[in-house]
Each structure stands twice: as structure tokens, then as C-alpha cells.
């Protein structure tokens, strides 16, 4: 795709205007998932398995249905059969079939005239279970004798002889590994473990669904991607996608967790059965028990290094459980494991394993934080052993343009070196530290994503422009799109209105995921509004009686392209728009693509912590994020992504974890015990935006949403080591673990 790339001399790009949806969101007017109501609406409540693994012998809803005001009960029997592949997985996850596969797995649902009544009815639905043996730990799930969760479901890639819980096996690499290790002065190998975490969005899943017996339906839902919701819901229910119109609400956080369906097809099924709209809103406990947390992981990493810090070879073996369904993100985890470094010989191996836990969903750079925790911890340990500066050692080995990436291809223009240089030069890196304090650094990578994208732009009669996009605005993307449209058209930011529209109003769009919205929707927005300006040039040319090629678009005006084109005063967008009905009709632009020049984003973080040697408590004292944004369209929201990613990574490193009891039940199902960072846990988070323009975007944008969660896990572990003299190779580094390590050290 030929792109008219521009990386300097911007008028609007790089400024920090107020976001267009700001007032709605500070006054309580913005409507989120649970803020919708419909006439005659019923409330739906799910019945969930209290067992980690159990055969469903019988479901009896007689007592529930006898309650006045209870309108429908659905079970798996109300869904079509014969689905295959991921469609079947999604259906099975939304409503258990023969076996409940994890604590919290939905087994039935009820709709009633009030929420209180629906809750009461749900308690009256009697489910008879035969409890089966369960396994929740990834390493345990691969051992002989572990209960097979779904025998015979492994794909082509799994060699014979592995436990039936292994769903996929991946192996790749390049270079001579043995020679590489032989050439090293130091070879180290360790095992690292990370526990599952949750995206922790503050807004629970919510939807308002209506489906008729004719298969025509509508849904209001908080989601990162309503076309995904449409496709998955339609598949689970066996209806046509075009018959289901999905409107996205404002969304209260997603981080990958709102890219799939949980309650949506069930609400539609209840609505179809009851003949009325049904609203379903998850409780926080349901969100934690039964949506899509991350995988937990167990990782072996081995690396060879010369005395001067040169990396000679590296090998990683990654085991991940993604719940009772395949598709734990081993692929991206492996690709990110050594992506920061130019290592002559690398080898990757990965196992995708089933366990009796909820089906994992994407969480911000899926797989990359776990991989970085292992690799970047090991690099730090090796730098310590060899007495090397950890940032300079990273710089020495850093991937750059032309490096053969650890996952195969040659890197195009990337910005890791620039982030490392900025981190080394940052005053934070040289600042003094006190007693029990330590500093850690780490780098991280996310490859980003382009994805299916459609954007429409329409010119208004007064010269203002409406842009219709399909990627929900989770963190200020309306502002970024408006800035790019304003820049491309040369009109004020305020004259662009960006709307996130429903599935009936635009072609297919993938969700706001994969750090793709500013990149892909931005690219499509620029191309769509450029169609408007080129049409306006044509109108001006017609008016002036000169060829369209002789007209250029500049500063919001059509102008003759030079003296040879003739002398005409510029025509403004407003003048041209006012006449468009009589000069050829309405003007709009449309662009659709699956752009693939997204380019990856690298980041380097510096963190200072203080560890209380008597309690193992870790305080984060200072934090700096350095990351390549390609070009920061709205720098305030880029900084926000950096800071938010760092905060989530700190939570993952220190206190967040899924805790399963011996009974296979999740023990921490509320925010009181699922401990995400609170305001008093964190310092200000300093940011440095590095801009190495991405040649794959007209303005050089790289996605920035995900990379920021990757370095904190190892950076904090490295800082804890520096502060307390102990190396924690299992996350979270909760106080009991740190104190035990300190005591073991003596």
C-alpha cells in the first residue's frame, strides 16, 4: 500500500486537545454497558458450577420456573449442536455441555422481571453433579496421572507420548545452539513461574439483548469489538451475522478481556425464549471466576554470554495453561522471549496445556510479560554474575533494523536502541539509592497488530467532517482519530466529529486490540478523509475549468497547484461543502484494509524499590517508562498507556494472582483479595516518548497499548534482587515469598 508518509511539520498531531467525549465522561452522562434499559426488559442471571470439574447429571428448573415473574430458563439444550473448532470452544465456554470444566463455568441461566427475582430463581435451579478429579497447575496438568480434561483434542502439532492435556506443541529456532553455548564464558539456566492474573477492568461485562424467533436481533454491549461479538454470538446461536445488530456502549476497560463473548449469547438465548429484551450484568465475582484471565506459565530459559556481555545462544521452553480450552498464547510468548536481542542461535519450544480453569482471554501483550519475566530476569542475573551494566549489555545485543529476529524475519526500522540510549541518559538511572533500596531495569517488546479495518468519513454541508469508526474508544482514541483527520484535511480539530458506530453502519472491524486502533483505524481515517479532499479538489477543478491534477489540497483549501494551473483564489472546505449538492452530490470517503505495516514497539523501564527486610514488603519508589511510539498523535494518551501498562505490570509482579484451593475453587473472587494496585501503592510514573517513525503508517504511528505491561515484571524482580539480595523466580513476589527468600539466604 503506497503511503504518503509524513513525519514532521505537523499542525495538530502531537498536540493535547481535550478529548471529544470528555464532558460526557466527567458528568456521568456517558452510557456504559450496564447503563441501558429497554421497555419490558427482563434481567438475566447465570447459574454457575461450584466444582472445578464435574459431570452435569441433571438440571431441574421446575422450582425456578414456578416463581411468578420468571420468564425463561436456558441450558445447553437451547443452543444448536454440531459446532466445530473455536466456535465450539466458545459455545462450550458460554454454557457447559456435559461437563462443567472449571469453578464458575455457566451451566444454566434464568430471566425474570426483576434482578432480585432472577437471583432468587437462579438459586432454585437444581443441578446434580458428579464431581470429577481436577487439575489447576500447568506443570501438574502435564504429569502422568493428571486427569485428562478433554482427551483426543490435541492438534496435529503434538508429538506422541505427551499427556492428552497438551493441546499444541511449538518448536522453532535458528543457528547452532551447541556452538553458541560452547562459545560462551557463562551459561545460566533457570525456571520461572508466573501465576494467572486478570485484566481487572473496573466495568463488569454487561449487555442488553433482544432476539426474535425470526433470528433477528439487536444487542447493546460493552466490548472492545462488536463485530467479534456479532460473529461469535451468531455462531454460538446458529443465526446469520447480518441479522444481529450490535451497538457498542462506552467501555469501562478491556485490556484484551472484552474481545470475546461470555454472557452475550446467553442473554440472546434468554431473550429469544422469553420474547422480551434481557439485560445481563456480571458481578465482580463472576468476572474473576468466569471470564478470561491470563494463562499461568512455567518457563525454562538458558542463555550463553561472553565476558563482555555478548549473547551467544539462548533457549526457552514454555509451558502455559489457558484454562480448559486450547489457545494459551504460547506463540506470542515465544516470539517475544528473545525478540529484544540479536542472538546467533536461538531455540524455542512451547506447550499449550489444559487445566480446570476459565478459558484464558487476551491480556495486554498476551504471553509477552511472562516471557520477559523469564528472559529479562535471567539477563539481569547474568549481568550480575559477570559484573556488567544491565542497560549497556542490553544495548550491546539490541535488535535493530536488519537484525534477524529471534522468531525468523528481518526487523524493519525499530526503536529498541533508542529506548535503551534514552534510559541510560535518564537522570533516574544515575540517581542515588538508600538502604534496602534497589534499582531494576528491563526491556520488552510487542509485535502489534493491524487487523481488519473499515472507516467512513462524511463531509457536512458546513465543511465539518464526521468520521465513523468501528474500534471502541477505550482510552481517548476518538481524540487521536480526530487529530489525524484534522491534520490530513487541514481543518480544525473541533470540526471533526468521530463516532464509534454499530455493526449495521460499517464494514467489518476487528476490536480495539493488539495496539491497533491508533495505527490501523488511524491509517484508515487518514485515507478516508483524503478521499474527501481529492473529491473536493475535483469539484474545485470543475469550477475553475482546469484538470483535477492541477489542484492541490492545502490548509483546508483547494488551491491551484502552481502558476501554470491558473490564478484562482483558494476555495475553503466550507465553501466547497456548502455547494456540494449542486456540484455533484454528497461527498464521503471510505477506506477498508487489513493493514500490515504496524511495526513493533519496544520499551525499556527503570524502577526503584525498597524492600522491608523484616516483612518482605516492597514499595515502588520511582518508575520511568521509555517506549517507542513511532509518532505520538496525542502525547497525553500515549503517556497514559505507558503509565497504565506499568501499573498493571507492577501489580502482576507484586501482588496479583489467581489463588485456587485444593478443591479447585478460586479463593479470591473480590477486589479485596485480588489485589490490583491502589493509588497509594504507586509513585508518579515518569514517561519518555521515543519517536522512531513507523514506515508502515502515514504519520509514523506505532501501537503503544501493550508493550508497557511487559518490562515491569522482570524490572521489579531485578530491583527486588538489588534491594534485598534475593532472586524471586515465581510471581507474584508477595511479601511471604520475599521474606521466606530473605530468611533462606540467612
Amino acid at each position: 500500500m503506497p503511503l504518503d508518509t509524513k513525519t514532521t511539520g505537523f499542525k495538530y498531531i502531537g498536540t493535547r486537545p481535550d478529548r471529544p467525549d470528555g464532558i460526557d465522561k466527567v458528568t456521568g452522562k456517558a452510557r456504559y454497558g450496564a447503563d441501558a434499559y429497554a421497555p419490558g426488559m427482563l434481567h438475566g442471571v447465570m447459574v454457575r458450577s461450584p466444582h472445578a470439574h464435574a459431570r452435569i447429571k441433571k438440571i431441574d428448573a421446575t422450582k425456578a420456573l414456578a416463581l411468578k415473574g420468571v420468564k425463561a430458563v436456558v441450558t445447553r439444550a437451547d443452543f444448536p449442536t454440531g459446532l466445530e473448532g473455536e466456535d465450539w470452544n466458545i459455545q462450550e465456554n458460554c454454557m457447559a455441555g456435559e461437563v462443567a470444566l472449571y469453578d464458575g463455568h455457566a451451566v444454566a441461566a434464568v430471566a425474570a422481571t426483576s434482578l432480585l427475582l432472577a437471583r432468587e430463581a437462579a438459586k432454585l435451579i437444581e443441578v446434580e453433579y458428579e464431581v470429577l478429579p481436577h487439575v489447576t497447575d500447568v506443570d501438574e496438568a502435564m504429569k502422568p496421572g493428571a486427569p485428562a480434561i478433554r482427551a483426543g483434542a490435541a492438534d496435529y502439532s503434538v508429538p506422541e507420548g505427551l499427556h492428552p492435556n497438551v493441546m499444541r506443541y511449538i518448536e522453532y529456532g535458528h543457528g547452532d545452539l551447541e556452538a553458541g553455548f560452547a562459545a560462551a564464558d557463562l551459561v545460566m539456566e533457570n525456571t520461572y513461574k508466573t501465576e494467572a492474573t486478570h485484566q481487572g477492568y473496573i466495568e463488569p461485562h454487561a449487555c442488553l439483548a433482544q432476539l426474535g424467533s425470526d433470528g433477528k436481533g439487536e444487542m447493546w454491549v460493552c466490548t472492545q469489538g462488536h463485530w467479534f461479538i456479532r460473529r461469535m454470538s451468531a455462531a454460538v446461536l446458529g443465526i446469520d451475522v447480518a441479522n444481529l445488530r450490535v451497538t457498542p456502549s462506552e467501555i469501562g476497560g478491556g485490556f484484551g478481556g472484552k474481545t470475546t463473548v461470555f454472557i452475550e449469547p446467553v442473554a440472546l438465548a434468554l431473550s429469544r425464549k422469553a420474547g422480551k429484551p434481557v439485560k445481563m450484568v456480571m458481578t465482580r465475582s463472576e468476572v474473576l471466576r468466569a471470564t478470561g484471565p491470563t494463562s499461568s506459565s512455567s518457563i525454562d530459559v538458558k542463555m550463553g554470554m561472553k565476558k563482555d556481555g555478548t549473547m551467544t545462544a539462548a533457549k526457552v521452553t514454555m509451558r502455559m495453561q489457558g484454562g480448559a480450552f486450547p489457545m494459551a498464547p504460547i506463540d506470542s510468548a515465544l516470539d517475544c522471549a528473545f525478540s529484544c536481542y540479536n542472538i546467533p542461535a536461538v531455540h524455542h519450544e512451547g506447550y499449550d496445556v489444559l487445566a480446570n480453569r476459565p478459558k484464558q482471554a487476551a491480556y495486554r501483550a498476551p504471553g509477552s510479560p511472562m516471557a520477559a519475566f523469564a528472559t529479562e530476569s535471567l539477563v539481569d542475573e547474568m549481568c550480575r554474575a559477570l559484573g556488567l551494566d544491565p542497560l549497556k549489555t542490553r544495548l550491546k545485543n539490541a535488535s535493530r533494523e536488519g537484525t534477524k529476529a529471534s522468531f525468523g524475519p528481518t526487523f524493519p526500522r525499530i526503536g529498541l536502541v533508542e529506548t535503551l540510549e534514552a534510559a541510560i541518559a535518564h537522570p533516574h538511572y544515575a540517581a542515588p539509592l538508600g538502604t534496602n533500596q534497589g534499582r531494576g531495569v528491563a526491556s520488552g517488546y510487542w509485535m502489534n497488530w493491524g487487523g481488519e479495518t473499515s472507516v467512513s468519513a462524511a463531509l457536512g454541508e458546513d465543511g465539518s467532517v464526521t468520521v465513523s469508526v468501528g474500534t471502541p474508544d477505550i482510552g481517548g482514541s476518538r481524540a487521536s482519530m480526530a487529530l489525524m483527520a484534522a491534520e490530513a484535511l487541514g481543518i480544525p480539530y473541533e470540526n471533526v466529529r468521530v463516532n464509534v458506530v454499530d455493526t449495521g453502519s460499517l464494514g467489518v472491524n476487528e476490536p480495539t486490540h493488539g495496539s491497533r486502533a491508533t495505527y490501523a483505524t488511524g491509517l484508515a481515517t487518514i485515507e478516508a478523509v483524503k478521499q474527501i479532499s481529492s473529491k473536493l479538489c475535483q469539484r474545485a477543478a470543475d469550477k475553475w475549468g482546469i484538470p483535477a491534477e492541477a489542484v492541490i489540497w492545502e490548509d483546508g483549501c483547494a488551491k491551484p497547484s502552481g502558476p501554470n494551473a491558473g490564478e484562482f483564489p483558494p476555495l475553503t472546505i466550507g465553501e466547497l461543502a456548502a455547494e456540494m449538492g449542486s456540484t455533484g452530490g454528497p461527498i464521503s470517503g471510505h477506506f477498508e484494509a487489513t493493514p500490515s505495516g504496524h511495526g513493533g514497539s519496544f520499551g525499556t523501564h527503570i524502577v526503584d524499590v525498597e524492600v522491608d527486610p523484616e516483612t518482605g514488603h516492597t514499595s515502588v519508589l520511582r518508575y520511568t517508562v521509555v517506549q517507542d511510539a513511532g509518532k505520538a498523535i496525542h502525547p497525553a494518551y500515549v503517556e497514559g498507556q505507558f503509565q497504565g501498562g506499568a501499573a498493571q505490570g507492577i501489580g502482576w509482579a507484586l501482588n496479583e494472582e489467581y489463588i485456587y484451593g485444593a478443591d479447585g475453587r478460586l479463593q479470591n473472587t473480590v477486589f479485596l483479595d485480588y489485589r490490583i494496585p491502589v493509588a497509594s501503592d504507586l509513585p508518579m510514573i515518569d514517561t519518555v516518548i521515543v519517536e522512531v517513525p513507523n514506515p508502515g503508517h502515514p504519520y509514523g504511528v506505532r501501537g503503544v497499548g501493550e508493550t508497557g505491561i511487559t518490562p515491569p515484571l522482570p524490572a521489579v524482580a531485578n530491583a527486588v534482587h538489588a534491594a534485598a539480595g534475593v532472586r524471586l523466580r515465581s510471581l507474584p513476589m508477595s511479601p511471604p515469598r520475599i521474606l521466606a527468600a530473605i530468611k533462606a539466604k540467612g
Binding site: 487476551a362 495486554r364 524475519p409 528481518t410 493491524g450 493488539g514 487489513t594 500490515s596 501493550e706
Partner: protein, 81 residues
């Protein structure tokens, strides 16, 4: 001939080769030729792969050009959060 690099887990479908040479002018032709040459790869490609051409990830652009000196990698499909 376009040289296509496969991940090594696929070697058992390609008689041990992790680079396969094919006649193709587009990504679409390349995928077709790949399955014709090594039918064992069919389920892999149907399950979804990404193709990297000269360092650029071609998600589903079957018409994208490849030439004999292109660097082509078959990669596992990835999605972000």
C-alpha cells in the same frame, strides 16, 4: 523460486526441510503451492498462519507480491489484547 521459511515444528510435514522453494508471484499462490508440495501442511494453514514478507506481516493479503529475493516466513497467527 521463492524460498519460504517454516517454523521447525512443521519439518515433519516437509520431509525435514525448514525452507521450501516454490514457484509463486503472490502470497496466495505461495500458500497454494505450499499445500500442493506438502499436503500435510493443509491443516496448519487452514488453522491460520501469518506470512512475513521482507519483515512485514501480511495478515490475509493473498494478492501481496512475493519475488525470488523476498524474505518469506510462515509464522503462527498472533492476536493482541
Amino acid at each position: 523460486m521463492v524460498k519460504v521459511h517454516l517454523w521447525s515444528g512443521l519439518r515433519r510435514f516437509t520431509d525435514g526441510a525448514d525452507v521450501v522453494e516454490l514457484e509463486a508471484k503472490t502470497v496466495g499462490e505461495m500458500m497454494k503451492a505450499l499445500v500442493e508440495a506438502h499436503p500435510g501442511l493443509d491443516p496448519v494453514i487452514k488453522a491460520g498462519v501469518s506470512v512475513s514478507v521482507d519483515g512485514k506481516l501480511i495478515a490475509r493479503g493473498l494478492h501481496e507480491q512475493v519475488s525470488d529475493d523476498s524474505e518469506v516466513f510462515l509464522l503462527r497467527q498472533l492476536k493482541g489484547g
